[in-house]
């Protein structure tokens, strides 16, 4: 690929300003030793001077959840897939009224993403009409569409399984000649590679067919719970809707079943005798009844051990099936538990009973019957969509992606066999489009008998890229770049990355302490604006005028007579059950207590605003003459 640098910019890239903005993406410098990193990635994923104005004005956050490390060139296939697959659902398929696509850029090897918002009211309304019809159709027919989805996903995986790569033969076999296909190994290698890539994009498209809608239903239920029960944890909300028989539990359940079978068949000895899975398997196979256990093991392994130890987005996320040490460690633990007489079954009934208890009890704490009805409907819908939300993860990220990476490694072996690479793993230093070129190069060499260019071209290039990537890895990325957004509306952004207004504010850091703002305990809800009346001595109470905001160290019960004249109260000390707070709630007055410094920073006569719901006091205007 052609090395690309952004080129001359029409502006000076902005630096980060605490509390206001993040550094411009153009202000990020390449660490020494990583020069030319851009050449590892496609031109459209890089910043450019031509699009600089657009790119500089957006908000970018680092997707450390899926890709914590600098991307291997090949692994960009995953991020490039969802760059289109997620975005097209929001923009072209549904469309989602408020959310546009999610843009991607690679900066110093790290993936940054930027959700596009739709802000024009007319456009939102028009999109909402289409959305209601199209998404409505999916919600109304959810179970049926999910069944179709499972069939499509399973078929896609079956076809992936059927893709094999082998080095080109010295001579085409006779069968290839006498079948009169007129097509040979060179053609098959290219088409299989295309098949592999398109198989990934096919699954990638299924991946997001229903996901946004599933998340949306769950998010709506979650928002309802958060509004009704402020502070309720995400874990508790999830516990009300998540299933107990989801596929992500199956790998572990299979290991439990294998442990039980081992005890039943009396083959625990060979399994406990070694930590090496291959040795253990061989030992079991040799034991009486051992063949029955091995048969059960092989059956469980496919598909349940296509179980990634990571998020499934990087080739380095290895699956159980690639490395059996993990399931065998679990297996030995379960066998020991069983031999000790312990129960290893998951307490399914107890979990289900707890789910019912938790849901029912929260329901009783809702204020009105209409709320209880909404709660019931939203729980039911969330439970209906959740099997897809949870299980898609096994089909796509675990089963399919793990198998996909193993197929790419098979292709890596082809390059090793033809002298392009030293190690099958080195294939991941090539972008998928470079692999297509390299395969054609390989075909040329095979066809002509001339040494392929790749034999001398790729080794040093892989070495160069390996060095660059090591440098990039040693330079962790900033969490966010660019201009923080006013609103975050894209449901995946909120749901998956947990990015919201608060997290953005936290990253921004705080501005230097605002002298006109005091934080305290939100003691009595409501907002009021009025003149401050600082009272340090009860003798001054008679000075209180109608509409004043009382500012004091603490209040005492004897101050009750003045409360009916106040519009709000602020105290230096106290909590939500302090006298000031209780009386203010009774009188319906906003109150912020425990501010620490109200009486020393606020002066009588200043116009102040009390936000009793958020515990904030602001000085709006100084003492008027």
């Amino acid at each position: 690929m052609t090395p690309t640098s952004p080129g001359p910019l029409p502006f000076e890239p902005a630096r980060a300003v605490p509390g206001k903005r993040f550094a411009s993406p153009f202000a990020v410098t390449t660490p020494p030793g990583a020069e030319g990193w851009e050449s590892m990635y496609p031109y459209y994923a890089l910043l450019s001077s031509e699009r600089a104005e657009l790119e500089d004005g957006k908000f970018w956050f680092f997707d450390g959840m899926h890709n914590p490390e600098p991307l291997y060139p090949f692994d960009t296939i995953m991020t490039e897939n969802w760059w289109v697959a997620v975005s097209q659902m929001s923009t072209r398929v549904w469309p989602i009224p408020l959310a546009g696509g999610i843009d991607h850029r690679i900066i110093n090897g790290y993936l940054y993403i930027s959700p596009n918002a739709v802000t024009d009211a007319d456009e939102i309304a028009a999109r909402a009409e289409d959305f209601a019809v199209r998404a409505g159709h999916y919600y109304e027919n959810w179970d049926e569409i999910y069944a179709q989805w499972v069939a499509k996903a399973t078929d896609c995986i079956e076809r992936l399984k059927g893709i094999h790569f082998a080095p080109l033969p010295d001579k085409e076999p006779e069968s290839a000649v006498f079948a009169h296909r007129g097509l040979y190994s060179s053609y098959d290698l290219l088409t299989r590679y295309s098949e592999l890539i398109h198989n990934l994009f096919e699954m990638g498209s299924y991946h997001f067919e229903m996901l946004n809608l599933g998340y949306g239903a769950y998010l709506t239920f979650r928002e309802f719970c958060q509004a009704a029960f402020p502070g309720i944890t995400d874990q508790t909300i999830a516990s009300m809707v998540s299933g107990i028989d989801i596929m992500l539990f199956r790998p572990d359940d299979e290991v439990r079943a294998l442990a039980r079978l081992a005890v039943e068949l009396g083959v625990t000895g060979p399994l406990l005798g070694t930590e090496d899975p291959a040795a253990a398997l061989a030992a079991v196979a040799g034991a009486p009844s051992g063949d029955r256990w091995v048969e059960a093991f092989e059956k469980a392994k496919d598909p349940w051990f296509w179980f990634s130890t990571g998020a499934g987005y990087q080739h380095s996320d290895r699956a159980w099936i690639d490395d059996l040490r993990l399931p065998f460690t679990a297996l030995r633990g379960y066998i020991k538990n069983l031999l000790d007489g312990q129960d290893i079954d998951r307490p399914l009934e107890a979990i289900l009973a707890e789910r019912v208890r938790v849901t029912d009890e929260y329901r009783t704490y809702l204020p009105t019957e209409a709320d209880r009805e909404s709660f019931d409907g939203l729980v039911e819908l969330a439970r209906q969509v959740f099997p897809f939300v949870e299980n898609h993860n096994f089909y796509v990220e675990h089963w399919h992606h793990s198998m996909f990476w193993s197929k790419v490694r098979e292709l890596g072996d082809v390059f090793v066999a033809h002298g392009f690479l030293d190690d099958r793993e080195d294939i991941f230093y090539l972008h998928r489009n470079e692999i297509y070129s390299a395969l054609y190069d390989l075909n040329i060499g095979w066809a002509t008998g001339t040494e392929a260019r790749g034999v001398t071209y790729w080794r040093p290039e892989v070495e160069r890229r390996r060095r660059i990537r090591e440098v990039l890895k040693a330079n962790p990325p900033q969490p966010a770049l660019g201009v923080p957004p006013e609103y975050i509306t894209e449901p995946l952004t909120v749901m998956l990355w947990g990015i919201n207004q608060e997290s953005v504010q936290e990253w921004l850091g705080s501005e230097d302490q605002d002298p006109n703002r005091l934080n305290g305990v939100a003691a009595s809800a409501g907002k009021a604006t009025g003149r401050a009346r600082v009272i340090l001595d009860p003798e001054q109470l008679h000075e209180v005028e109608d509409g004043d905001i009382l500012v004091c160290r603490i209040t005492a019960p004897s101050w009750a007579p003045v409360f009916s004249r106040l519009s709000a109260a602020v105290s230096d000390v106290g909590g939500i059950m302090a006298h000031t707070a209780i009386v203010c709630r009774e009188y319906g007055l906003p109150a912020v207590v425990g501010t620490g410094f109200a009486t020393t920073t606020i002066k009588t006569g200043q116009l102040i605003e009390v936000d009793g719901g958020n515990g904030v006091v602001r000085v709006l205007e100084d003492v008027t003459a």
Partner: protein, 364 residues
């Protein structure tokens, strides 16, 4: 004069005390809690009959009504004057002998049961209407802590009676309360064994700021609970989810001084908190869990949200000091959370279009 119908004194563990109007709101609740098996320190109430008997016998009943009527609408200076005059008359009046005997006998029985002479007690007012008329009368009545010996108990019972005519009580009138109710309401004076609290405070069986009923909010501090109740100490605060018992919010306030008994003077006031405790939370997680469980049980027993004063002794025993109905949210009409009832799919479609499912009336 003491009869079973109108006793001067009622012990809170007396079956007749349960639901008796003679104990006022606060102490009546404690009798009910005691009968239900909650850990309430023993005590007795000097009943509302006793208070009325005292006013009648000392010839102050008519004067009391006159003071109330005049105070209504008077300016603050005049209210203070009226209050001072009448309080002095109450404190000077003689307590009828039968009443005095009843109080002394009951106090002696508390001393005997505790096995401690000059047993420290809390003496506090318990108004007839305070929990009934939709007003908590927060802090309007008197509480005297660490009172020892029958003579001092008697003195402070009288002070509680006088407290009925303090300027704050004379003018305190949340909207819903009718003048007639205020005019005639009597008072019981509770006398209850003190818990030497290591930590104490209050808890609500709903979030008093948001009205969220799925929470127990515990505020506590080192030492006696006066710091929290009176607002003199910024308490630590724990918001507990009632369903899962998770502490969903924890606001710890370092504490340098606490309410306690000065060993030299025997008077309750601010004393320094031991160095090694200042930065520590005043409750362990187990205690927070125990308090939240207790709060839930009390709420279920009483059938409505409650405001509970509690104390934990040095040994870690949890005591219930006071229970009363939550008055603010109980008064409000329940605000519907959902903006407009819709089908679940309708809510979700609206959410995608930017209309949140809840109106967000609850401040968070």
């Amino acid at each position: 004069m003491t009869t079973t119908e109108t006793p001067f004194v009622l012990r809170i563990d007396d079956p007749a005390a349960v639901a008796s109007p003679l104990l006022g709101g606060k102490f009546g609740s404690l009798a009910e809690m005691t009968a239900a098996g909650f850990a309430v320190p023993p005590g007795f109430g000097v009943t509302t009959s006793a208070y009325r008997y005292f006013l009648a016998e000392s010839g102050l009943a008519d004067a009391a009504r006159a003071v109330r009527t005049e105070a209504r609408g008077a300016d603050l200076a005049r209210v203070q004057e009226l209050s001072a005059e009448f309080s002095a008359r109450i404190e000077d009046a003689t307590v009828p002998a039968a009443l005095e005997d009843a109080i002394r006998t009951s106090y002696a029985r508390l001393e005997e049961e505790a096995g401690s002479a000059r047993l420290p007690v809390a003496v506090r007012s318990s108004g007839e209407s305070e929990d009934l008329a939709g007003a908590s009368f927060a802090g309007q009545y008197d509480t005297f802590l660490w009172i020892r010996g029958a003579d001092d108990v008697l003195t402070h019972v009288r002070r509680c009676w006088a407290g009925m005519f303090g300027p704050a009580v004379l003018t305190y009138k949340p909207e819903a309360t009718a003048d007639a109710v205020l005019d005639d309401h009597g008072i019981c004076v509770g006398v209850q064994q003190m818990v030497e609290a290591r930590s104490a405070g209050v808890m609500f069986t709903l979030d008093p700021v948001t009205g969220d009923r799925s929470k127990v909010v515990v505020e506590g501090c080192w030492g006696l609970g006066e710091g929290v109740v009176g607002g003199g100490v910024t308490p630590s605060r724990f918001v507990v989810d009632k369903v899962t018992f998770e502490v969903v919010r924890r606001e710890l306030a370092p504490q340098e001084s606490a309410y306690g008994v000065d060993p030299a003077t025997g008077v309750v006031g601010l004393v320094p908190v031991a160095e090694d405790r200042r930065e520590l939370p005043c409750l362990t997680d187990e205690e927070i869990d125990e308090l939240a469980t207790l709060a839930k049980r009390i709420e279920r027993h009483r059938g409505a949200p409650q405001d509970i004063e509690w104390a934990v002794s040095e040994a870690g025993d949890v005591h219930v000091l006071q229970v009363r109905p939550e008055t603010v949210w109980a008064q409000r009409r329940a605000e519907q959370l959902v903006a407009a009832p819709k089908s679940a799919v309708g809510h979700v479609l609206a959410r995608f279009s930017g209309t949140g499912v809840a109106t967000g009336k609850r401040p968070s």
